[in-house]
Amino acid sequence: MNQLRVVAVGHVDHGKSTLIGRLLHETGNLPDGKVAELRTIAERRGVPFEWSFVLDAMQSERDQAVTIDTTRIWMRTPEREIVLIDAPGHKEFLRNMVTGASDADAALLLVDALEGVSEQTRRHALLLELIGVPRAVVVINKMDRVDYDVHRYTAIRAEMEALLQRTGVAATAFVPTDAREGENVVAAGSPRMAFYEGPSVLEALIALPERARGASDALRIAVQGIVRHDLQRIILGRIESGELATGREVLISPARRSARVASLEVWPPREKVTARAGESIGFTLDGPYFVDRGDVISDTGHAPTLATSFRARLLWLGAGTLEAGGSYRMRFGTRTATVEVAMVERVIDIESLGKGDGDGIARTNDVAEAVFTSAQTLPLDVVGDHPGLARFILLDGLDIVAGGTILATLNTGSAGDLVPVGHLLDARARARRNGHLGAVVWFTGLPGAGKSTIAMEVERRLFEGGCHAYVLDGDNVRAGLNKDLGFSPEDRHENIRRVGELAALFADSGTIAIASFISPYRSDRATARRAAGAAFHEIYIKADAATCEARDPKGHYAKARAGALPSFTGITGDYEEPQNAELVVDTSVLSVEDAVDTVLAYIDERILAPVRPGGSLLARTPLEADSP
């Protein structure tokens, strides 16, 4: 494929739209009558005709003579098709500039010969690196304004070389031009710039290497969703890198289960055994594994790292500031996770492109490096190895406030690439003998929501189904292990921390530990999750406060109302609802039996099925449709 997408960037007024208008005109890519039509419009408005009018078709842009949003134009040459993406140079439209750049294979970076390298030039170079545009053709434009001076050309060229070297963008040419007059735009060898022996802008674009997909050979597929077809569960996704083939062993993350590819599915149906990077594909696995949207399919050898913390570089687009403590939703691959800013390490200084120290706060349009944490264990790639799934956006409510890339994973807790192979095999051996994985099934919810009732019934059903299961709750833990703890906030945190560690050990031994605790604080539950890693399953036993108080199985609400239980969670209202529970069981609408079955169905799929395909704790009921 010979098509190339090129984004034109640089300071406002350095002549991008003019260069593109001129390129299109001289390569015969404008419709008949377009230039005449625009000349007529300009005349009617009493303004001189500009080549940039070709692109700035929108009324408001013609009035202000700046590009507001990214636009694109197809330019056909005998050698290759070039899609030109015109991106705005104004600082206030930076979000549109990165939008244009994120689709590009290369950049045209313009510098005004008279004004030289500006702050915006530096910022755009920095953003090209962040977005991942690998190459640039540098155009030193408006040479007429410096009388085609070779020294001016050489000085700017040297400055741009140094700048691009620091950002890691490779410059393939430095073309001196006068775009308005078309000098060195399509044909090289402008007599006014005899000192220059390199290619014209067009020649430099044609000489750029082809787009390469999949910087790495390792398999990556972000699962988009599952559809059922002829009783098969077909996993849908696009191959980000690597190759998928029938019979191949793959790993599902973050569950870290391996499976074999049973078939590749395409329509119209045909026999297909391999699929390559870039393809949108459907496939089935050789067993009823629980795979869901957001999971990552990889080779068994080069899996994404499981981590709860990472360092990232990002462009901050939010109207407010980015600082420690901020909480955002992050989208990467097909997964959405809640992340918290642990620290803004540095804001990049645009003048030096060096790492300024700053005050730990990033402001609108800053490029910053920050450390993030997540309560959930996330399957993460770093941009240097697998760029596709290392790119993310941050959302604050419904607003996109940042785009960035993951530089490093920091807290790789459990089961990452660092786990010794022997350990993983031990866990597998235990799971094989037990017929299920070791797990922590963590029930959280208000007093009276039904945690204990459901936990005890689930434990009984698991036992009858041949599973090793044990309920940990306040009664059996506070009687011994935690009898030194009271009910102060510190003691309550410590209580949950110990239970989390204990449950993780149970899981490690191969048991299904059912931990039934109010555990009102997200941070405490996050600690418990970190202890158990991917074996942790948070189940929110949900019921509204009024329902719980009406039930009051232990008489606690009555006591609390009477003032006998001063820090009782149901009354003080300090329960923090889970945001990312694996399962929500709403007991204000479900009967006890249905609530238990809901939990068992989940355990079936996530804890039993990986080891015991087809085995079930339930009389097989039809599963919910996978589609929304």
């Binding site: 419709p31 419009i41 408001s60 849908l236």
Partner: protein, 264 residues
């Protein structure tokens, strides 16, 4: 990967993102070459089926061949077609020029449909190369509550990490064909043997290059009687694709007014 393979794979991935993230979802089908190719891509994305309704904004002004094509594909492809009758021209902004006003009936029809069905997402087969206003579009393009397009405040859209959340009471337009060109669509139609309305092929020296309603669209001079000849014609023409669309030429900002008001 060929260019067509690359375009196809990206479109399928966009269609799947829309489906797995946004509900209720619908797709506009004008029976033209673009939205029919898009329908084909939807079938590829979901292994043969089209898992959401396919909506025709009907002004009752389509050419008879177009209606016949709809009926045939509805049967052959087992589509859930919703025929949405658009409000009459008398109810449309009278300051618009005549053909623009006729075209705006579709905007009004779409607005009514979205409100009635509470749609959160509408898949539309527009392309960036058709028209300079469409060139500025996003793949996931959020709309204001009245369906209008706030072109000056579009959100960033980075790589293929799409922002698929929809505000309450609003909808998002999804544009899987944005990167395709007219000739890409024809090459793909030829390669995949996708059916087309015969009006695209020249008869008696005329053919429709862009297929709109009969009251506001005119055929162009052409001898291209097969898809192969259309592709050859497009490789040399310097006429814009929408030259036969009357509303684009009534005033300088006609299409801009249509689009910011919520037109496709």
């Amino acid at each position: 990967m060929t260019l067509l393979d690359e375009l196809e794979a990206r479109s399928i991935s966009i269609i799947r993102e829309a489906y797995f993230r946004i509900a209720p979802l619908g797709m506009l089908w004008s029976m033209g070459k673009d939205s029919t190719a898009l329908l084909w891509l939807v079938r590829k994305a979901f292994l043969g089926s089209v898992p959401f309704p396919v909506i025709l904004l009907d002004t009752e002004m389509e050419l008879p061949e177009v209606y016949a094509f709809r009926d045939q594909l509805e049967r052959d492809w087992n589509l859930d077609v919703r025929n949405e009758l658009c409000p009459p021209e008398s109810s449309i902004d009278a300051t618009l020029a005549p053909a623009t006003r006729a075209a705006a009936r579709k905007t009004a029809g779409l607005r009514e449909l979205i409100a009635r069905e509470q749609l959160r997402g509408v898949i539309v087969g527009i392309r960036r190369d058709e028209q300079s206003m469409r060139a500025k579009e996003r793949v996931f393009s959020p709309r204001l509550p009245d369906g209008a397009w706030d072109v000056k405040h579009q959100p960033a859209e980075l790589w293929d990490v799409y922002h698929t959340d929809v505000a309450d009471g609003q909808h998002v337009r999804i544009h899987p064909l944005l990167d395709w060109t007219e000739v890409d669509v024809w090459r793909y139609t030829q390669r995949e043997e996708i059916p087309i309305v015969p009006l695209y092929l020249a008869r008696d020296g005329k053919r429709y290059r862009s297929l709109g309603e009969k009251n506001i669209t005119v055929p162009i001079d052409s001898k291209a009687a097969s898809i192969e000849e259309i592709i050859a014609e497009l490789e040399t023409t310097r006429q814009p694709e929408r030259a036969g669309r009357l509303m684009d030429h009534e005033s300088e900002d006609a299409f801009e007014r249509l689009r910011t008001g919520g037109y496709m």
